[in-house]
């Protein structure tokens, strides 16, 4: 099972992860210039840099073992893939109530875009995360984790 791991000590706060995340989920897949210059309804970044004074780090969805977002979802659109164990939002069922956004303790769920209400979150870009590929300082890595390393929002460790 591979997951994104964050290395706070090497995050330089450039926000290239956010930029590439937006392009990876946009209409013009991975084309930065078209995404930012032509797509006025471009998506929100699923990974966000948290920054305060000298500290900064990227924060994507942790795909918690016991996920608050799944528990709180009104329509059952927020589900876990039984195979990959990833938490994902089925956009057809999402009504944009934002309960998941309120429930997520990491603030890792965002509104899809300026003109779209549904919730959006990290989907690991189909096992090839754009943020990891473009991080200039290897502060976001995609690596194998054990079941025990799985994040658990309900039982925060």
């Amino acid at each position: 099972m591979k997951r994104i791991r964050i290395k706070e000590e090497y995050c330089i706060g450039c926000r290239l992860c956010e930029v590439h995340c937006i392009a990876a989920h946009g209409k013009y897949k991975n084309d930065l210039i078209k995404t930012f210059k032509r797509d006025c309804n471009r998506p929100s970044p699923r990974i966000v840099i948290e920054e305060k004074e000298d500290t900064c780090f990227a924060l994507p969805c942790r795909h918690c073992r016991e996920a608050f977002c799944i528990r709180s979802c009104l329509t059952g659109s927020m589900t876990r893939d039984p195979e990959t164990r990833l938490v994902h939002n089925e956009v057809e069922r999402c009504v944009g109530c934002w309960t998941c956004i309120a429930a997520c303790p990491y603030g890792a769920i965002v509104r899809e875009g300026r003109h779209t209400k549904i919730a959006a979150k990290c989907d690991l870009c189909g096992q090839d995360p754009a943020c990891v590929k473009h991080c200039p300082n290897d502060a976001i890595v995609y690596e194998e984790v054990g079941e025990d390393d799985h994040y658990d929002a309900c039982n925060h460790r």
């Binding site: 330089i12 290239l16 930029v19």
Partner: protein, 499 residues
């Protein structure tokens, strides 16, 4: 009368490609790029641009370029623009001009005018991919006669440094460069089985595990010197001078002396770290002997002692004195050697080229019959593997690289190390900037550089029909000079091309 500061470089933003993502804004410690709060556009003011190219390299759409500013091309053949600029700056400040890195003056280079030999017909060249090729190097005093005991082991062999490649990372202190930069070099030295040098900044506690690949330095400021420090490394280097600032000391400003530097150097937090110009206990070769043997006593004669000097006019006689004083290694730093901060005029006008100094020292020690008593290590602008191999052919046992090593870590040679605002996280102590150099990436890149040069060294050796670097050492017949005067050829001890 004051002049408005004008940009030396011009940052150009291609508005067709710029997506206003602001990566450049967040990456420029010189605050060249900024987000206009009214229009939400990313704009730039080139005044403080140092041409470090961090923004250019990180811009995700390739929208940025840095050029020389148009006014910087004025001046004339007699008064170059940098001379005019220097006078204007000094008229403003009344102070010494500071700069960083090695001299950038267009002085004639000797390495570039020496050509290497290759085998043709009469002796076979060697393919290093198919046949063994030895680059292993031992640094230290060699015995005049080799005596073996009953088991065939050498008797009374002085301590030696063993290198898999005749290239070491030169002295750069914690203070002048960041801990992440040193960690990168230390890890690269460990993986390639060579050495890095602490400089005069002491040894941070995180670096003790790299002890067997460390050369610890004892300089005039004696920063961080204690018995654990001396025993932690594989060798000790007494620094008398360095190529970028022969004859003068060093000054690490208080703002760079944070918690880590303060503890490592054993000086108060925020205090200036001043290295005196001379060692106050060394005023003669005899005094140097005392220090060398104090250090040998302290480490129970288990570590070779190196003495590092800048290449100056009487370098051959000085080196002879150092060899006789008991040093095991002499490190010579040429006038192009780099530094974190140095007065501009000293850097550019004091010292002599390393090629001439090296040839003179090697010849002198051979003439006096004491060449085997010391190993010679040279530094000062070893730009590529061909410089390394030419230095070895001139008589060096190994070379020191520093600028090349930093370039492998990300340095773009903007020469603003002394400002402490290195955007690449190398010559800075600002925690936000230091973070930018991930030592895992740095170690990988510096090790790659060593491996790449190692391959090239083997190729060039093979071409000459030589299968061990030992056989090239001091083999000046492998060099020919192009476009040199007779006196230069004589000092270098090489023939002119065609002879």
């Amino acid at each position: 009368m004051g002049f408005t500061k004008r940009p030396t470089f011009r940052v150009e933003r291609d508005s067709c490609r710029c997506i206003d993502c602001g990566v450049c804004v967040r990456q420029c410690a010189n605050e060249v790029h900024y987000l206009d709060i009214d229009t939400k556009e990313v704009l730039c003011d080139s005044t403080n641009c140092s041409n470090c190219r961090r923004c250019v390299e990180l811009c995700p759409t390739g929208a940025l370029a840095v050029w020389g500013a148009p006014q910087e091309t004025s001046g004339n053949a007699a008064w170059a623009v940098h001379d005019i600029r220097a006078i204007q700056a000094q008229a403003n400040s009344g102070g010494i001009l500071l700069t960083g890195m090695g001299s950038d003056r267009p002085m004639p280079g000797y390495f570039d005018r020496m050509m290497l030999n290759a085998s043709q017909v009469t002796n076979p060249s060697i393919d290093p991919l198919r046949e063994p090729m030895e680059l292993r190097t031992f640094l230290g005093r060699k015995p005049t006669v080799l005596q073996l005991d009953d088991k065939g082991k050498p008797v009374d062999l002085p301590p030696q440094l063993e290198l898999d490649v005749p290239i070491m990372f030169s002295a750069m202190s914690f203070g002048s460069i960041s801990l992440n930069a040193i960690k990168s070099l230390a890890a690269a030295a460990e993986s390639e089985n060579t050495y890095y040098n602490t400089g005069e900044g002491g040894l941070h506690r995180d670096l003790y595990p790299f002890g067997k690949n460390t050369i610890t330095q004892v300089a005039s400021g004696r920063f961080g010197v204690n018995i654990d420090y001396l025993n932690a490394g594989a060798a000790i280097e007494i620094k008398i001078g360095q190529g970028a600032k022969p004859g003068i000391g060093g000054h690490l400003p208080g703002e760079k002396v944070g918690q880590g530097v303060s503890e490592t150097r054993m000086i108060p937090l925020g205090s200036d770290a001043i290295s005196p110009a001379p060692h106050h206990d060394i005023y003669s070769i005899e005094d140097l002997t005392q220090l060398i043997f104090s250090l040998k006593e302290a480490t129970e004669y288990t570590k070779p002692i190196s003495v590092k000097i800048a290449a100056v006019h009487n370098v051959a006689a000085i080196a002879s004195g150092i060899a006789r004083a008991g040093a095991d290694i002499i490190a010579i730093d040429g006038y192009r050697g780099g530094t974190g901060a140095t007065p501009l005029r000293i850097r550019d006008h004091v010292g002599i080229p390393i090629e001439l100094a090296l040839a003179a020292v090697d010849s002198r020690l051979r003439d006096e019959g004491i060449r085997q008593e010391v190993s010679i290590v040279v530094g000062g602008s070893m730009r590529h593997s061909a410089d390394v191999i030419k230095a070895i052919a001139l008589g060096a046992d190994a070379v020191y690289i520093a600028t090349a090593a930093l370039i492998s870590l990300g340095c773009h040679v903007c020469q603003k190390c002394y400002t402490g605002k290195c955007n690449w996280g190398i010559a800075t102590q600002n925690p936000q900037l230091v973070k930018r150099l991930n030592p895992e990436i740095g170690a990988r890149r510096a090790a790659n550089l060593l491996r790449a040069w190692k391959h090239e060294l083997k190729e060039m050796l093979g071409g000459m029909g030589i299968n061990a670097v030992e056989s090239l050492r001091g083999n000046r017949l492998m060099l020919r000079g192009v476009g040199m005067m007779d006196s230069e050829l004589r000092i270098l001890g090489i023939k002119a091309a065609g002879e």
